[in-house]
């Protein structure tokens, strides 16, 4: 069994209420940080090796150290709880089960950043979670853990819950900031980065829910202890939301470095492929990361076991690797059609592109139409090359990474499953999977 630090108290009756949470040691991190210098808290998080859990995996402590303190302007912490990546549903679970853990993390992190105002930007559809968070904040405020003069330390912090309107792009940090400011959620050009000029032009740190929720443990147990969990380059534990054709879909907390094979097949996690079918492919980190066929997700190109870690999943770059991303783990059995899946993902990006920059606005629609044609038997062989070309011209040429997120799944699907695309466009213009079963080489049973 892996170690748990975020979900270990899940299951304790009433843990979402303040008294029970405190009875289990809750808010000790707040008590501790208030006696520390803010810079020392940042140092501790730096030492922990914690990498942002929102998708890009940027080291959290380092991000905090970029915040402009010289300007003398107000600083903000914004917690990204927009959680919109298809396949990713871990933050909502964490907030639902452990609201006080997030709030404790926010108080400790805001103190480290010397911020007196913090926002939780929650996806608007999570109505019940918004209620849970607001209740928890009220409880914490009542107990003097949030608000004025926290625990008599003289430190003040207000936490505001802000709801989004269900736009995927509002999860991108600068679009989120625009949205918080009451504007259309269009990403901003970078630089300037939010740490210098973010919300209302003031220094701002945007962090994922899970990143912030890891801070109390780090404060309580030291950065060094956290760095010892996981692997040298991927410290700590990570929430993985597993779905698709597996026996036990759900949110799991794993120690980074767990073998992928164990994660998929062990009864402690996904419990193997449903109905005794064979594993075909996996999208390991949310819909935007490259899909990998069974052979490559279980083993790297050198034949080593693939691990659930930043470095192992990306081993081989985009030729034979993928990314840990946001931890949305989607498993496909042998009956799933990659063309249809790719079309589905592209449809999503087409719908969700903010429309500011031309490669993404027009390119996602173009790819969607080509894929639709192929999936429905109207494609030509040259369409596959065209599709490849279009994704290549979106990637790297857009304002924000949504363009890349739309391009990568298409690139990986063609790279690893070109035969399926070809089958769709050749006679008999039928889906390879639906009608003929898959060749042995592309599936794995363990």
């Amino acid at each position: 069994m892996s170690m748990k630090i975020l979900l270990d108290k899940v299951g304790v009756a009433g843990i979402e209420t303040l008294p029970v949470y405190r009875a289990h040691g809750g808010y000790s991190a707040v008590e501790k940080v208030l006696k520390m210098a803010p810079a020392d808290v940042v140092e501790e998080v730096k030492k922990s090796g914690l990498r942002g859990r929102g998708g890009a995996g940027f080291p959290t402590g380092m991000k905090w150290s970029f915040i402009d303190k010289k300007s003398g302007r107000p600083r903000y912490l914004v917690v990204n709880a927009d959680e919109s990546e298809p396949g990713t549903f871990k933050d909502r679970y964490l907030m639902e089960k452990m609201p006080h853990l997030l709030i404790e993390g926010i108080v400790a992190s805001s103190y480290a950043l010397e911020a007196n105002l913090s926002f939780i930007y929650v996806r608007g559809e999570f109505r019940w979670i918004i209620a849970i968070l607001e209740k928890a904040i009220a409880e914490a405020k009542e107990a003097g853990l949030v608000g004025k003069n926290i625990m008599g330390s003289g430190y003040n912090l207000e936490i505001v819950v802000q709801t989004g309107a269900g736009a995927y792009i509002c999860g991108e940090e600068t679009a989120l900031i625009e949205s918080l400011e009451g504007k259309r959620g269009n990403p901003r050009l970078k630089p300037p980065f939010p740490a210098v000029s973010g919300l209302y032009g003031n220094p701002t740190v945007v962090n994922n829910v899970e990143s912030i929720a890891a801070v109390p443990w780090i404060v309580n147990n030291s950065g060094e202890s956290y760095a010892k969990i996981g692997t040298p380059k991927s410290a700590g534990t990570k929430l993985i939301s597993a779905c698709g054709n597996i026996n036990y879909p759900g949110v799991y907390e794993i120690e980074l470095g767990l073998p992928v094979e164990e994660f998929i097949f062990s009864p402690s996690y996904c419990g193997g492929i449903k109905d005794g079918k064979r594993l075909k492919a996996v999208v390991a980190g949310g819909s935007s990361v490259p899909i990998l066929p069974a052979g490559l997700i279980l083993k790297t190109a050198n034949g080593e076991p693939r691990l659930m870690s930043y470095e192992s999943l990306s081993d081989g770059g985009f030729l034979t690797g993928t990314m840990l991303g946001s931890g949305g783990f989607i498993v496909y059995d042998e009956d799933q059609c990659i063309v249809r899946n790719t079309w589905n993902f592209t449809r999503f990006y087409h719908h969700e592109s903010c429309g500011q920059c031309s490669p993404c606005r027009e390119g996602t629609g173009w790819m969607e139409r080509i894929l639709h044609n192929i999936e429905y038997g109207h494609g030509k062989l040259s369409d596959i090359d065209l599709l490849w070309d279009v994704q290549r011209k979106i990637e790297g040429n857009t304002i924000c990474p949504l363009g890349d997120a739309a391009a990568w799944p298409v690139a990986a699907a063609i790279r690893h499953f070109r035969d399926e695309f070809e089958w769709h466009v050749r006679e008999p213009k039928e889906c390879l999977v639906r009608n003929y079963g898959l060749p042995e080489a592309t599936v794995a049973t363990v």
Binding site: I169, H350, G355, Q356, C357, W366, K393
Partner: protein, 329 residues
């Protein structure tokens, strides 16, 4: 002052200058195309990606190349930066694809579009585009709508450069129009069928790089290359009063603001100047407008055979200017 090298040409510029503006100092082929950037509009640029360039060396201090192409219109130069524009095959290839992206949904209706001859997308496609289309899909369509008494919106042609919304934000009193929806479904639209009526709304037409915002008083009345543009001015309390009169014979077909060689207006004009003075006698005519050499507008004018100036205009022109006028072909 900091040093930057673009396509092998070195120059010194003030700190904070963008790559685009540094390139414009040099001129010629080193200037990247711009479809959304507009010097006088704050926040413009960064969107169309037409101006992407390669930074082969970040700066003298950190000589590493930048990993991706960067938007030259909003990336400031650094001391010792080395930029490749027309000398980079990667940049030129990307530019071809940007034209292609912009044309995925743009109708190729230049023969009936009022912007033909002045369209930045037409020029961009001519210089950088492919000759055939690779997207065989239905382009998106909208019915043209009148947004107020002066402007007709052909959303079908819009490339979502956001310039007109920036004009609305920055020049007009009450902004009633903006972008609706998202992605490819985005639309320039007015707030629930509202009319755009304010003193400076006409500038939205001038900044629109394509034929999406058209002048209701001018549309379909003539092709721009049959007209003779004349610089003119009048005393105006609202704006600089500096305009271009577009004449055919004696008739003023339209009045616009003056655009520079990058198709940008420096002095925006008010609606009164634009739409309430269609007589040459209302204006002090300064002389023929110099139009950039590659424009189709120059193709059919400034030659003795085709230019017929109304008599009263001769008297207003001073001789030196008239000489220059004759010399241009």
């Amino acid at each position: 002052m900091i040093k930057v090298t673009i396509d092998g040409i070195a120059l010194e510029v003030e700190e904070g200058t963008t790559i685009m503006n540094a390139a414009r100092r040099i001129g010629g082929d080193v200037v990247p195309p711009a479809m959304c950037y507009y010097t006088s509009l704050k926040g413009s640029g960064g969107k169309c990606r037409a101006c992407l360039v390669k930074v082969a060396q970040g700066s003298a201090k950190d000589p590493r190349p930048m990993p991706k192409l960067v938007a030259s219109c909003c990336t400031p130069v650094q001391d010792g930066m080395v930029v490749l524009n027309s000398t980079s095959p990667e940049v030129l290839e990307t530019r071809r694809s940007i034209v292609e992206f912009l044309l995925v949904n743009h109708p190729l209706d230049c023969p009936i579009c009022d912007q033909a001859g002045e369209c930045e997308l037409q020029n961009f496609a001519f210089e950088h585009g492919l000759q055939k289309t690779r997207s065989e899909f239905h382009r998106r369509e909208f019915d043209p709508i009148d947004i107020g008494p002066h402007i007709k919106l052909h959303m079908t042609r819009c490339i979502l450069c956001y310039r007109c919304t920036q004009v609305a934000d920055q020049l007009t009193d009450e902004r009633v129009h903006g972008v609706l929806w998202r992605g490819e479904a985005s639309e320039i639209s007015t707030y629930i069928q509202k009319a755009v009526e304010n003193d400076f709304s006409g500038n939205m037409i001038d900044v629109c790089p394509v034929g999406a915002l058209t002048d209701r008083h001018f549309r379909f009345r003539n092709r721009v290359w049959f007209l003779n543009p004349m610089d003119a001015h009048r005393h105006c309390t609202k704006c600089s009063g500096k305009v271009v009169l577009w004449l055919r014979g004696e008739e003023v077909y339209r009045v616009t603001a003056r655009k520079d060689q990058y198709d940008e207006v420096k002095d925006f004009i008010c609606n009164e100047c634009r739409w309430e003075h269609f007589e040459t006698k209302d204006w002090v005519v300064e002389g023929p407008r110099t139009v950039e050499k590659w424009s189709v507008i120059t193709a059919n004018k400034y030659t003795k055979e085709t230019v017929e100036l109304p008599d009263q205009l001769y008297s207003k022109l001073d001789n030196t200017k008239w000489d220059a006028f004759e010399g241009v072909t």
